[in-house]
Amino acid sequence: MKSNLFKKLSPIMYPLASIAFMLLVWHLLFVWVGSEFIFPSIGATLAKLGQYFVSGKFWLALLATLGRVLLCFAISLVLAIAIGVLTKFVPPVGKVLSPIIALFRSAPTVAVMVILILLVDTLFTPIIVGLLVVFPMLYASVTSAIDQVDVGTLQMCHLYNVPKIHQFKYVYLPTVAPYLLGELPATLSFTVKLIISAEILSYSYQSIGGLIQSANVYEDMASLFALTILSVLVATLLDVALTFVAKRVKGGAR
């Protein structure tokens, strides 16, 4: 009986214990620092969170940030799939792209942001930065997923003259989709963090990053903490939602 109840509760118990531990550490740090201005209390941060939830300005900022995240992620994904598949069927394209992607990967993100802030409207800077970082990640996932496709099955397709569109539908897609779907949730929550960082650095108007930047300017630590918690929540919710969708799609494919 006891062990059954423990098993049922364990999926909730462990995360709750983890949250309780973090709150305890937070509270101890607050007591140790002893100043609401340097290290805010849990209560002050929750009060700030409450204020944000009833503020229209906050919801607009959240929507704008989410819009940027989803736009950046969607463009990166479509480009990664299109170019990844193209490089498989037209290998020279991959060879030409390879140094460009390597450049995107190795370029320091902050340096790229600084350059873009000078060149592009601050509304678009986070999206472009996101594209430059997320696209190479997704492109690498797509190409390595394509490499998982069984060579023997492709040989069979070649022998039997299976049209390319049907090779894509019946051979590539069933191999690539589960692999890629497994990678997407983590990449999406990374995109959230990246876009918010880019918003902070580029002083994007009407954004979570913009709110964090203004809290920083006014040294409003409670707001900084509240917005950080919100960012984590948004990233986690998107991760969970996409993991759920990915599981449904994978289940459907079977």
Binding site: G152, Q155, L159, Y160, P163, Y170
Partner: protein, 243 residues
């Protein structure tokens, strides 16, 4: 220089002609100026030990490996050792090889179902192909090979990983399929019983570089063959001594 010609005009009655085949993997020469003509419409079984070059010969005929020489044969199907099915339904696995040859959807569907029924997997049409048992997967592979409009069929130890009971039912299925849609078949195996059960002609592949020795032609039809008859038992002994 690899040259595989798929054209009727070069062959008589669907023969498979291999001329001056030279094939090597690095320093390992598998075939050196190997030539042979496999008569059309017959089931040729090539017997040989594992690693003796049986699959290489089929892969050269199919154009999968680079070689020097010429191979002249008609359009071909291939039943692989592993069935090489796509991660989709049984029906889709067969239909995908027909898109280029049958444009009419209704006719295509009818053809797929006909060959699935002939291979005795018609009832599994909507099942996921890679979830089937080994024997069922190989039946789907046979249906695919026979549905494809080819004149030549290559078979690379297709029944190797299956148990004896399933193998025997598959021999019957292959015999039925060949009776209804005949084609020149080259089957490679290391299993003497399989050779005796299926072959019209049996060859032994041996030596390095490989040479092909014709051992015998079996005139008795497959359905009437008794593997325990005196003739068959003595042929079996002969094959065992050669391998």
């Amino acid at each position: 220089m690899t040259k595989v010609t798929h054209a009727n005009m070069h062959t008589s009655a669907n023969d498979v002609v291999v001329q001056n085949l030279t094939l090597a993997y690095g320093q390992n020469v598998i075939y050196n100026n190997f030539s042979h003509t496999f008569d059309g419409g017959k089931l040729h079984v090539i017997l040989g030990k594992s690693g003796c070059g049986k699959t290489s010969l089929l892969n050269a005929i199919a154009g999968f490996v680079p070689f020097d020489g010429n191979v002249v044969c008609d359009k071909l199907s291939y039943v692989f050792q592993q069935p090489r099915l796509a991660h989709t339904t049984v029906f889709n696995n067969v239909e995908m090889v027909l898109f280029n040859s049958i444009a009419d959807k209704a006719l295509r569907v009818q053809t797929v179902q006909k060959f699935l029924d002939m291979a005795e997997v018609g009832h599994l049409a909507q099942n996921f192909a890679t979830k089937l048992s080994g024997g069922e997967q190989q039946r789907v592979s046979l249906a695919r090979a026979f549905a494809y409009p080819s004149q030549v069929l290559l078979m690379d130890e297709p029944f190797k990983s299956l148990d004896l009971g399933i193998r025997k039912t598959l021999y019957k299925t292959l015999d039925n399929l060949l009776a209804q849609t005949p084609r020149t078949t080259i089957l490679v195996t290391h299993d003497i019983d399989e050779a005796l059960a299926l072959a019209d002609t049996i060859y032994i592949l041996q030596n390095k570089p490989c040479t092909l020795t014709q051992v015998c032609k079996i005139d008795t039809s497959r359905s009437e063959r008794d593997l325990y008859s005196q003739d068959m038992l003595s042929l079996r002994k002969q094959l065992e001594s050669l391998l």
